[in-house]
């Protein structure tokens, strides 16, 4: 295409004859006419970002350009070549009205009460997937499971609108919607519990061992720590140390450990350390 353009431009220098006058700016997907001067037959070339079209025209008459030819936004070159040589004019096709929005929401899981933790980015496109570079307002709606929704209109800059928002104190799904005109893209983010708060254990003697279990595990906002989270129990007695990593089940982590004489039992989950209990002998 570049070679063809270079050849045509070389030809254009040879002679000036009928000129082409396209509009300075055209909207993608809308037909228009290019006026010409001069007379006689000519070959008309339209070089666009996506393709090249050629047809025979009469100079001095308007050249209709079909809407289907100008779907891609960008710089176009109109060239008319006749017996006297070639002439050309460039024009720009701009994106049409906003029609679609591509919406990125990160992360897909976020801890509760985290500042600027939710990142929403919207790319605004017209119906032909041209990025709409003119500023448009993207309406971000954050709808938590509980509590009032947040509405945040953001003006796009070169086709992109973004915002950061803090996660709320309650765990659960949060719906975030990006809206531009009729286009609406919903996404769901999961707000999850933070680290365990007040991690506490209690021990109950059984016939052969000690049953150790945590209180119901919650974070500092009162959210239940999800099942499957690992809780590490450590027991030190006369025979040595015993450790076991237990997943939380129904909100509680529990295990049975054999105890020989006096023992100290402690608990941790990730980087959070809980209480320590001491058991006397006599089992």
């Amino acid at each position: 295409m570049l070679r063809l353009t270079a050849c045509l431009l070389l030809l254009m220098r040879l002679a000036a004859f009928g000129e082409v006058h396209p509009p300075a700016q055209v909207t993608a997907g809308k037909g228009f006419s290019i006026s010409t001067t001069g007379s006689g037959d000519a070959s008309f070339y339209l070089i666009s970002p996506g393709h090249v079209a050629k047809r025979e025209v009469k100079l001095g008459q308007d050249i209709p350009v079909d809407a289907s030819v100008v779907k891609k936004a960008g710089r176009y070159l109109a060239i008319a070549c006749g017996s006297g040589g070639c002439n050309s004019a460039a024009f720009y096709v701009m994106a049409a009205e906003p029609d679609k929005v591509s919406f990125f929401l990160h992360p897909s899981r976020v801890r509760v009460k985290s500042n600027d933790a939710i990142n929403a980015t919207a790319f605004v496109f017209d119906q032909f997937y041209n990025l709409v570079l003119t500023p448009v307002t993207v309406d971000f709606k954050v709808i938590p499971k509980t509590g009032p929704p947040i509405d945040r209109p953001i003006k796009s800059n070169l086709g992109v609108a973004w915002m950061r928002v803090a996660s709320t104190p309650k765990q659960g799904p949060v719906k975030v919607i990006a809206e531009v005109g009729k286009a609406s893209e919903p996404r769901v983010i999961q707000q999850v519990a933070s680290d365990a708060c007040n991690l506490r254990i209690k021990a109950t003697r059984t016939a052969k061992a000690v049953l150790i279990e945590t209180d119901p595990l919650r974070d500092c906002s009162g959210n239940a720590i999800p099942d499957g989270t690992i809780v590490s129990f450590t027991e030190i007695d006369g025979k040595g140390k015993t450790t076991v990593d237990v997943p939380i089940k129904k909100g509680i982590a529990r295990t049975q450990l054999p105890v020989n004489g006096r023992a100290k039992i402690s608990v941790a989950s990730g980087v959070v350390i809980g209480n320590e209990i001491s058991l006397g002998g006599g089992l």
Binding site: S108, R109, V188, P226, G228, G240, K241, T243, S269, V271
Partner: protein, 369 residues
Amino acid sequence: MKAFLPLFIGLVTAGLVAMAWVESGGLALHEMRSAGTPQEAVEALVTDIQSRNWDRAYARLANSNDFEKQAFIRDLAGSSGSLRTYSSLESFKVWPVEAGADDATMRVRLNWSSAVGPLDDVRDLEVKKEGNVWKVVWPKPQFAKVPPQVIPVNYLRWDVIGRGPTDDWGVQNVDNPNVRITSMNAVERPDRVVIVGEVVNEDTVPAYVNVNATLLNSDSKPMDQEGSFDMISHTLLPRQVSPYRIDFPGFHLQQVKSVRMDVKAMLVPASADPVIAVTDQKMDKDPLGKNVLRGALVNQSGQTVNIAQVLADYYDANGRVIWVSDGYVDQALEPQVAVPFAVDVPDDVASKIHNYHVLVNHYSIHEGS
């Protein structure tokens, strides 16, 4: 000429008798009877074990009436898809511990080669003199039997559905888990630099984790890059902490200006089952006088764990990770049965250990994880 035929027949007959003697175990019997010392008796036994000639090995035992041959085979060849079932005895060394006129104690070090590398097994064997022959008294194999029972298992399992290949650009995907290196320490060893530390899964979903390290020289240029390979628990459940160790053979700390750490995590399906308790942990010495961390693994779930790997990290008085060591257990972990383990600890590290943390990697044939 007349004498040739009887001579020929006589030689053939003698040859056939000799063959029959060999075939009927006469040679073995001769070898057995030729075990004129405790050393020879143990060496002959272990040679048969090495060649998996179980019949002959079992016949060499002084106490073969005390247990069945199948128990003896199971003791040495393993069972339930354990690591021992994938191992072969590569070499052995025998030396005396105590020697008397009619009995002796011999120590044998068995070097098994396995899919995960060499495994050492040191045993003390009692040897008794019966007539002119020394025979080994094999320790009676003890296999814990789990009583028939139903063990309810209702732990969580996580499955993952990711973005499909036909989904449009910008369609939301599930993010990889958040993992964090909580500690890192560069340790100088005689022949290498070792990076040790801990990594935690801070997310609410399981993570497949790999830790890599790059040594940088004084110009901040990379000298070498290595990964944690099997010195880490790759699958970390939510809030689970794993030690890691990365070895750089042939490097010294004085060559290193800094270390660049890189932790990668992927979202993977995983199960919270089985739960394995590590009981009776204590620092000890093995029969060879080396420092080891001993303990026992108890599979608290209902399914057999075929291969278990023990990972231990050791802390100094300041709570800093100073070493990470591992050891594979060559027995399968049957439900509710304690299986002993021991992992080596270097002598110079052992004196600085203030605390330790043990984690178990497990592999089950049916789960593949």
